[in-house]
């Protein structure tokens, strides 16, 4: 490969300073985060009374958000590990995008759990007095483990890129240069170093798959081990994992489009990437649709008395608009768009990605809230506000703040590190050229 071509790739992929749009984007996200922090301050001061959460719906949008974050984080294992282990090379430019989505999402999944607690200062008791039989303790363990594996999976492939970035001292500025040197000054492109790194990435790719499956299966068991209409299902683990892969892939479609448009990466994130990623999303949407049919059709066919109110509430009742909105936006419309070649063009795929992510968020809301409103053993003479749930502005602000926070992490990561692996892209281009020659 010619040096000039290599330099061109490096110049194209080096992280860039925020432009006017970027600054507005960051300020906007910071403002949303600040509002969320203010709302959380109010919640800490006045207690959970400021929320719409009551004895029936004690989880609400906080836990919907938690499930959403855990779900979207699974994409890291899909793109980085599954596709890497199956020798799929087209996904190379997308691995870092997927990994940073995973890290930021899992970070905010952990935080949002604490937000749902009325007395967060007692969180440490979960570690001191955790009950091993409870899926809650498994969730804590597996989320922590997944976070560290994802972080390592982000770090190892970054090492050769750090060496490249350290070379641009003037461009980096003092602080970034110090950070790059701290993280990777010891990388000398030695074959032994590459050997260890490749081995580590392979080990991580293998390890992260069961951990990823565990993280979302355990999250599903938080619900499925509780005897309630809508949660009393043996299908929940697979149903959650398929949904998680779908929302994560939808998130990657959005990120691909935004990074490509903003950083002018058309050469690296090509139409072909959208085409292939679109096909992956169609496959996952069909899979998730299949699990949804299982999840709702079988109980609806039996229509047990105890589940009737819950199911009818979803199909034709109070939650029907949100239910059908979620089914259509998260699955049916994206399938309709992405099944066709033109639908897998960047703009259309981006729209499909947004639909998947938005629909999936509401899908998580529907998994949590309607079930909590319909316990098998309802309390007598409960206040009217127990029987209906609508989040207060504080809950919306905190949930919005957490989503903005996750986007901020991704944004700052893209500002500091190359969002497309530089070294791997050079190697891929080289091998591609060699094959052509």
């Amino acid at each position: 490969m010619e040096k000039s071509a290599e330099n061109k790739i490096i110049q194209d992929l080096l992280p860039q300073k925020f432009g006017k749009k970027g600054k507005f984007w960051v300020i906007g996200l910071l403002a949303i985060c600040a509002l969320g922090a203010f709302a959380y301050g109010r919640q800490l001061y006045y207690g959970l009374e400021v929320t719409g959460l009551r004895d029936y719906v004690s989880w609400g949008i906080y836990i919907s958000n938690f499930v959403f974050f855990v779900a979207i984080s699974l994409v890291g294992s899909l793109i980085t590990a599954v596709l890497r282990l199956t020798n799929v090379h087209w996904s190379t430019p997308l691995t870092r995008i997927a990994e940073i989505i995973a890290v930021s999402a899992i970070t905010f999944a952990s935080l949002i759990i604490i937000v749902d607690m009325g007395r967060p200062e007692r969180f440490y008791n979960l570690f001191l007095h955790g009950r091993l039989q409870s899926p809650i303790i498994w969730d804590v363990i597996v989320i922590t483990t997944y976070f560290f594996i994802s972080l390592l999976l982000l770090y190892f492939p970054l090492l050769p890129d750090l060496k490249i970035m350290i070379a641009f001292k003037e461009r980096n500025g003092k602080w970034l240069q110090k950070l790059y040197e701290f993280l990777g000054s010891f990388w000398k492109n030695k074959p032994e170093q590459f050997k260890i790194t490749n081995k580590a990435i392979n080990i991580l790719s293998i390890s992260i798959i069961p951990v990823a499956f565990a993280i979302h299966t355990v999250t599903s068991w938080l619900f499925a081990t509780t005897y309630r209409p809508g949660w009393d299902s043996t299908n929940f683990g697979a149903y959650f994992i398929s949904g998680a892969f779908l929302v994560g892939s939808g998130g990657v479609l959005i990120a691909m489009y935004v990074f490509r448009a903003h950083y002018k990466l058309e050469k690296y994130i090509t139409d072909d990437h959208f085409d292939r990623m679109g096909k992956v999303v169609v496959l996952l949407a069909l899979l998730y649709l299949y699990f949804n049919v299982n999840e709702f059709l079988v109980p609806a066919f039996k229509m047990k008395k105890s589940e009737e109110e819950h199911l009818l509430g979803l199909f034709t009742g109070e939650f029907a608009p949100v239910f059908w909105f979620a089914i259509f936006t998260a699955m049916i419309i994206p399938i309709g768009i992405l099944l066709f070649k033109n639908g897998r063009k960047p703009k259309a795929a981006f729209v499909a990605g947004i639909l998947v992510v938005v629909g999936s968020w509401f899908k998580r809301y529907l998994i949590v809230t309607p079930t909590l409103l319909h316990p098998f053993l309802p309390m007598h003479d409960v206040p009217a506000n127990y029987k209906h749930y609508f989040p207060s502005w504080e809950e919306w602000a905190i949930a919005g703040g957490s989503l903005a926070g996750a986007l901020l992490v991704i944004t700052f990561f893209a500002r500091i590190f190359p969002i497309i692996p530089i070294h791997e892209t050079i190697i891929e281009t080289e091998s591609h050229e060699n094959k052509n020659n």
């Binding site: 009950r131 039989q133 032994e192 081995k199 991580l204």
Partner: protein, 292 residues
């Protein structure tokens, strides 16, 4: 004219004072309190009295709680004869065990009278009930072939004499009640004061020594009151009490998880974290290689 006005005002004030009094007098009309007193001889060891307070309200007899009651031995409600006092519970009942202090009075005669007095309350009149019993004993025994026998004797003058023609229930204690020994509900004592019943309940759970509690009882007899006698017999099925409480299970409390789960969970966590720690050491190796 002036006198007429004064008279009307005077009448108005008289009505104002008298009318509420009249209405109040109607409002506080009390209900009649009906008391029932029963005597119990428990296994020839203790004796107790039970009072039941009732009143007919809205055409129905209802149990009356919170009635202060005093129990007296003999018909004389003098203080020296007071053997106990209390307040009726939510079921309108109160029980008093006849104290040892009443022994002197108890030994005076083969017959005994008891009186209970219910104090008047704002809603109820005073109530009174009496019970008169002839002192009797019911003895229970077994004979070979799983036969329960019971003998009723009563004090006639100074002699304990067998009593015939009294209904006796023979059974076994079961789930807070008495289960009959067989299909026959009651047996009538013969001239020797004895009843016999074949025990046909083979599958009754007993204790660890197969013991079950056999019971003979005379219920609400007009002369002898309520008598009961109990006897343990090894005629039950051996039952060893077992509980899963605090055993290691998926549903047990913290620290009592099943061993297999602990091994599995800690094993997995240790294995995965061993990989993570190994990889962190690999970073150190990479660093060393770079610094060489």
């Amino acid at each position: 004219m002036k006198t007429k006005t004064i008279n009307i005002i005077g009448l108005f004030f008289i009505l104002l004072v008298v009318l509420p009094e009249l209405l109040l007098a109607q409002a506080v009309e009390k209900n009649t309190l009906s008391l029932t007193l029963k005597y119990y001889n428990d296994n020839n060891i203790t004796h107790h009295l039970l009072v039941q307070a009732k009143s007919k309200i809205d055409g129905k007899f209802q149990k009356i709680a919170h009635i202060p009651v005093q129990f007296y031995i003999t018909n004389d409600t003098e203080k020296k004869n007071l053997i106990g006092s209390g307040v009726t519970n939510e079921k309108g009942e109160y029980v008093v065990v006849i104290p040892a202090a009443a022994k002197e009075e108890w030994l005076k005669s083969p017959n005994q009278n008891f009186v209970v007095v219910g104090e008047a309350t704002p809603k109820f009149d005073e109530g009174r009930a009496e019970v008169s019993i002839t002192k009797a004993k019911l003895k229970i025994d077994t004979v070979e072939g799983k036969i329960i026998t019971a003998k009723l004797i009563a004090l006639v003058d100074t002699t304990w004499t067998p009593i015939s023609g009294v209904d006796v229930v023979l059974g076994v204690k079961r789930l807070g009640g008495v289960l009959n020994a067989n299909e026959t509900l009651t047996y009538t004592t013969d001239s020797s004061g004895t009843v016999k019943a074949e025990f046909k309940r083979d599958s009754i759970p007993g204790d660890a020594k197969e013991n079950i509690i056999l019971v003979a009882s005379v219920i609400d007899n007009d002369v002898y009151g309520n008598l009961s006698a109990e006897l343990a017999a090894p005629w039950g099925a051996k039952t060893i009490y077992t509980t899963n409480f605090d055993h290691r299970s998926l549903f047990a409390r913290r620290g009592h998880s099943p061993i297999w789960l602990e091994l599995l969970a800690y094993g997995i966590v240790a294995a995965v974290w061993a990989v993570i720690i190994y990889l962190l050491f690999q970073i150190r190796t990479i660093k060393k290689l770079g610094l060489e």
